[in-house]
Each structure stands twice: as C-alpha cells, then as structure tokens.
C-alpha cells in the first residue's frame, strides 16, 4: 500500500456520528457511493413494485375476485409498470454503470461528478414524486389518488376530461424529472468512456461492459429526450389548454403513441444492453475463457443500437397504420433479431469448451441465456403483424415482455449483484442462500411467465381486473399467481443474503473470482480514489497479463 492512500473504512479508528455519515452520503459526488445509492434506491422500489404486482396477481387468482376495486387495479398496473421501468431497472443499471465503468477503464471518477450526484437525486426525487401522488394527487372527491392511465398513458385518457385531478400530473412530472436525471447520467457515461480511459485502454481493449454502456448511454440520449418532449406536450395540453393530443380539436391520439414508442422501444434496449454487459463480464470469468468474438460482439451491439431506433411502431400494429408502415416495422423488427442472435451464439461460444464454474452469478447467466432465447422467439412471433393483430393487448404480450424484463434483465441484474457484491462490500455473499434464491426464483419465474402465455393465446386481455369463470383461464391464472409466491420468497432470500453478508460474510479479498478486468486489481471495497496511480494496460485482460507474465494476452491479441 502506498503511504498516501486514505483509509476507506475508518470505523476501525473511531465510530463516526450517524449524522456525519448520513451527511457524507447525501453530499457525496463519489461515483461508487452514488452507484450504491442508485442500487439501494432501485432495490427499495423493486420491493414496492413487486408488492403491487403481487396484489394484482392475488386479485386475478380466481374469477370474480373482489380483493381490489377496478379503480385500484388500474392504479396498481400503472404504478407497477412505471415503477419497474423508471425507478427499478433504469436506476439499478445506472448504479452498476456508475460504480463499475470508472473502475473498469482505469479512471478515478466519472467525467462530471457533480452532474452525477445531481442526476441521482433528481431521479430519486422523481420516484418520490410518483409515490407522493398517493397522498397529494387530490383525485376524485378529494381523495389521494395514484396515476391510473397505464404506464404508456395513451391519449386521450390523459386529458383533463378523462383524468381530472392531479394524478396524471404526478405521473408526467415524475417521468419528466427522472428523465432529466437519465439524460444527465447518459451524458456522463459517454464522456467518461470517451475521455477518461487509462493509458493503453483503447476502444478496442475496453471491457465489453464499457462498450455496451457506451451504446446504452447513446440510446438514452436519443430515446429519453423524445419522451421528455412528449411529456412537455402533455403538460402543455393539461395546463395551458393545448391541443397536441386533443382529438376534439383535430389533434391526434396516435401521435402520442408514436412519440411514446419512439422512446419506448429503444428503452427496451436501454434496459437490456446493460444486462448483456453483465453477462459479457460474468460468463467469460466463470467459463475461464476470454469472451468469444469480441469485435463481433461490439459490432452486434452497435447494430442493435441503430436498428432499435427504427422498430418502435411494432407496438402499434393494431392501430391500423397501413400495409406500408406495417411491412417496414415487421422487417426492421425481424432484422434486430439477427445481431441479438449473434450475441447469444457468442456467449455460448464463450462457454463452449470452457471449464464452467456453477457459482450463483453463472447460474443466473445460464438461465438468462435460455430465457432470453424464448423471449426473443415470442418477440419474433409478435413481430408478424397478422399474429400481433390476434394477440395485441393480450396476456401473451404481457408474458413476452416480462420474459424479457424479468427472465433476461432481472436475472442478469441478480447475477451482477452477486458477482460484484464482494467488490462493493468487501464481503462474500452466502453461496447456499444464493443458490436457494436462484432455484426459488427460477421455479417462480417459470410458473408465472411460462403459463401466462396460455391465457393470452386463449384470448385473455391484459389490464382486466377480473374475468368470468368457464373461459378456460382459471387454472392458468391460479398457476401464474402461485409462481409469484416463489418469486417473492426468492426476493426475501436475496435481501436476507445481502444484509447478512454485508455484516457477517467472510472477507472477500481483492479478486475472489480470479477475474481479469481492472476493478479486481483494487481493494474491496475500492479506495475513494480507486487507483493510487493510474494503471496502464496492454490487452483486454490486464489482470491476466499481471497474473501470467510469461504468457500475456498482448502477445496474441493485436489490439491497437
């Protein structure tokens, strides 16, 4: 240890007053602390959004159930969707990005640390604003009222006529301000990756993690901004009497759909590319092989980034856009499956012939590969416009996108949580509990979302608060709801594991996985300035070079 390094955990010296610690966390501009704040914020909202999902499933467990009223059911699915997308998945991905990108590219912080703090707090404020609607929205009859217009808030439901009171205003403002936070973070990630790399870290030597976040951040800049614009228009309509989405005055409800999905579909890739980033780091390490086809992976990522900007209207086949537009969006949607398929083959190629270690992160990644494949296949099915006309707005769609968001993104996020937990806390998680979490969640996931396809095929529409018996939907809904209990139990195991390991876990050391990227070269948790002296690297796997000086990667790699 160099003498100038500042001790990270000075609780050994003397315990600090809680107020001081709290003050430090609130005023911090350190990328690692902000990363942890993002993750903690997201996990909190994961529990909230999960509870909303559970209540909805309990309502649907049998026909003619009376657990919640139709009005409450509308609020539940609106809040569940909005929470999960904007205040769970986005922040947790930004959290990992924040924490890991500077460490991986050999930098001491993000490019704009204060912008980073601003972005986090604005996003946190957005989340609180959304939930403040429960007490402050002043809905019908003066009661507190959560937004109930659905997470994509189609016009004209959002107009003053159909949505009096302030619940929709809370929804739009929460998304507007958290969008500012997302754009700020994206700008920060782009500037960090392009400008803060350590000597030798050429673009071709960056970990794939950084590449995927680079494309993600670019997509955020280009996708969240249209959403921001659309929210401003909605505010103009609601507050200033504008007519953007007012069909009575010649406005168009369909243009809201276009504006929303111009954001909404790239958003799917904003969410899934970081999940790919986690898998691209974890699968090689636990297969004991470098990633297969690095440059092809990069090319596929960039291709996904571009194509994802031109597929949005496959969410709108049922609107009746005409044959020309339908054909275009069918083809572009089918095209995006190609680079995505390349990625799956490359992960399999990485595992092929490797000596695979089935630790918890790897288990989650393997499950991700299978589930993402199925999610992609049902996606291609619905990319066929005629097929989508049958199944649009049915439970088949719900099953499909939950397969992507839970089966792929959440599984990878769990993998990342376990994989980097030792780095972030300095402690090892409990492997036994980790496996228990994995199996419980796997069973719960498949019970819920495999069987959700079937009532969809049988014609069960989404967003209904109850249904009649005798349509053949009953048993499937029961199974789907049973799966939720497994998932809830698994999340409980995860939280117990995280908390218990944080205080009682065994010390992890710098590099518990014998990994190859720079974040494992520093202590766990990393010191405030990350690197006492900025590293210099020669290949994509700097720690491999360090550990095997006789056989370093740079001899073979030929990267610029």
């Amino acid at each position: 240890m160099s003498s100038n390094s500042i001790s990270w955990s000075n609780d050994i010296v003397e315990p600090r007053p809680v107020v001081d610690l709290l003050h430090e966390w609130v005023t911090t501009v350190d990328h690692k602390r902000l990363g942890l704040l993002y993750i903690a914020f997201a996990l909190t909202f994961l529990v909230v959004g999960g509870i909303e999902a559970t209540v909805m499933r309990l309502q649907l467990i049998r026909p003619h159930n009376n657990l919640v009223s139709p009005q409450v059911f509308n609020r539940l699915f609106t809040m569940h969707g909005t929470t999960m997308i904007f205040f769970v998945v986005m922040p947790i991905l930004f959290g990992f990005g924040n924490y890991l990108i500077p460490l991986m590219i050999g930098s001491r912080d993000m490019a704009f640390p204060r912008l980073n703090a601003f972005s986090f707090w604005v996003m946190a404020f957005g989340g609180l604003l959304l939930y403040f609607s429960l007490v402050g929205a002043n809905g019908l009859y003066g009661a507190g009222n959560a937004p109930d217009v659905g997470w994509f808030a189609y016009a004209p439901l959002t107009s003053q006529t159909f949505s009096p009171g302030h619940s929709t205003d809370f929804w739009t403002l929460a998304i507007l301000v958290s969008g500012f936070g997302s754009i700020g973070t994206a700008i920060n990630i782009l500037a960090t990756i392009l400008c803060m790399r350590c000597p030798g870290m050429s673009l071709g030597r960056m970990p794939l993690f950084a590449w995927l976040y680079l494309v993600t951040a670019g997509l955020v800049v280009l996708a969240i901004s249209p959403l921001t614009a659309a929210q401003i228009m909605l505010l103009v309509d609601r507050y200033l009497g504008g007519h953007f989405f007012d069909t009575q005055a010649g406005g168009s409800a369909v243009i809201w759909m276009h504006f929303f999905w111009v954001f909404g579909h790239p958003e799917v890739y904003v969410l899934v590319l970081p999940a790919f980033a986690f898998a691209s780091e974890i699968i090689p390490v636990f297969s004991r092989k470098p990633i297969f086809g690095y440059s092809v992976m990069v090319a596929a990522t960039v291709a996904i980034g571009f194509i994802s900007m031109s597929v949005w209207a496959h969410h709108m086949f049922t609107v009746g856009m005409g044959a020309g537009a339908n054909t275009f969006f069918v083809l572009s949607t089918m095209a995006i499956a190609v680079p995505t398929g390349i990625k799956i083959f490359n992960w399999l190629g990485t595992m092929w012939g490797g000596s695979i270690e089935f630790r918890t992160p790897m288990l989650f990644c393997i499950a991700f590969l299978f589930q993402f494949l199925i999610a992609g296949l049902t996606g291609i099915m619905q990319a066929c416009a005629p097929f989508d006309w049958q199944l649009g707005s049915s439970y088949f769609v719900v099953a499909h996108f939950h397969y992507v968001i839970v089966g792929a993104i959440l599984f990878c996020t769990f993998a990342a949580l376990y994989y980097w937990f030792p780095k972030m806390t300095g402690r090892m998680y409990n492997e036994r509990l980790g496996r228990l979490h994995f199996w419980l969640f796997l069973i719960g996931f498949h019970l819920t979302f495999d069987f959700m396809h079937i009532p969809g095929l049988l014609g069960m529409p989404r967003r209904i608060y109850t249904y009649e018996p005798g349509r053949g939907w009953d048993i499937w809904n029961l199974i789907v709801t049973v799966g939720v209990f497994f998932q809830a139990a698994a999340i409980l195991v995860l939280l117990v594991n995280l908390l218990w390991s944080f205080w009682r876990g065994t010390r992890a050391g710098n590099d518990p996985w014998d990994a190859w990227t720079l974040e494992w070269s520093v202590s766990s948790p990393p010191p405030p300035y990350n690197f006492s002296s900025i590293p210099a690297i020669l290949s994509r796997r700097p720690l491999w070079d360090l550990k095997h000086p006789g056989d370093p990667d740079w001899r073979y790699e030929g990267t610029p």
Partner: protein, 197 residues
C-alpha cells in the same frame, strides 16, 4: 498494490477527446432529439387546425431578427478567436455584440407574440396551429434565454476582469451551445415560416 507495476511494456498514450466537448456535444444531441419531436409535431399538424387563425393569415417571416440571431454566431466566433489571440478587450466587445444580437432576436419574438396574442387573437389554446407554434417557437426562445443568461454571466466576469486567455476552452463550450441555438433557428424558421405558411 498499484496497478502500474504490473507492466514492463508501456502502452502508447492515446489522445483522448476533452470531456467538456463530449459532454456539450451529447447535450446538443439530446436537445436535438427534443426539438425533432416538436418539429415533427409541427409538421404533422400543418393545416389540421379546425378553426382559424391560420399561419397564412397571421405569420410574417421575421427576416431582420433572424439575421440578427444568425450573425450572433459570427460574433461569438470572432470573440473566441480574439481570446485565442489573447486579446481580452476585443473578446469582450464581440461577446457583448453577441448578447445584443441575441437580445434583439428575443425582442422580435416578444413583439411577434404580442401581436399574435393581442391583435390576432392567437394563443396556445386557440387551435392546433397556436399550440404547435407557441410551443416550438417558445422552446427555441427558452433556449435563447438560457444561452443569453450564460453569455451574460461570462460578460459580467469579463467586465470584472476575470476572463483570461486560459478560459478559451470554457468559452468555446458556451459558443458550441450558442451555435446550436442558432442552427436550430434555421430549422424552426424553415418549418414555421416557409413550409408551414
């Protein structure tokens, strides 16, 4: 523990872009996306208003004020050039000219809005044209105001003698933003006063 010791061979250092420039360009990218949506909405709603007044009735192209705004791009460029040549006094003069031209443009917008609202009876809630016109032009005017505030800060600093040649980089970032605001006006002008009329 330091990671430098791990290499005997040293990599060739790479010239990395400046983070402020990358940050400003990505911000401009995000802003362009916002403007794109408003421009698309404007074009989509051309001629779809159910009631008057229409653009043909009430809009006159603000040629003089547009020339003012566009020439402010030239003056801010000259200001930056003066600073690069370590000539702070000239910098301040061109910088002030930029602010003045921007302010004249804003005055033009204000005059136009006043005429539309009080004489032509066109407000944001009158019809689709009003909604799209005031939000698109208003969004641009908002960016002009933000730009003018930033420029004024720098001008106050330069009057107080705090701007030195070493601030060339910061000044350049601000002028990137200003150039963006100006070039957006070309698009807005084309859409609102030429295509839409």
């Amino acid at each position: 523990m330091s990671a430098t010791s791990m290499m005997l061979r040293q990599p060739v250092p790479e010239e990395l872009p400046l983070r402020g420039r990358v940050g400003m360009f990505t911000l401009i990218g995000a802003e362009s996306a916002v403007f794109t949506i408003f421009v698309v909405a404007y074009i989509f709603y051309i001629g779809k208003s159910l009631s008057g007044p229409t653009p043909q009735d009430v809009l006159n192209a603000p040629i003089f004020f547009s020339v003012c705004l566009l020439s402010s791009s030239l003056t801010i460029h000259l200001a930056g050039k003066a600073l690069r040549h370590r000539n702070v006094a000239t910098f301040s003069r061109w910088w002030f000219a930029t602010i003045a031209l921007g302010a004249i443009f804003l005055y033009g917008t204000a005059r136009e809005w006043q005429r539309l609202i009080y004489h032509e009876g066109l407000t944001i809630s009158t019809n689709l044209f009003g909604t799209t016109y005031f939000s698109l032009v208003g969004l641009h005017a908002f960016h002009v105001i933000v730009g003018l505030l930033c420029l004024t800060f720098v001008f106050v600093f330069s009057v107080l003698g705090y701007v030195e040649p070493k601030h060339e980089y910061q000044v350049e970032l601000l002028s990137l933003y200003w150039h963006f605001v100006d070039s957006v006006w070309i698009v807005v002008f084309t859409v609102v006063y030429i295509v839409g009329r």
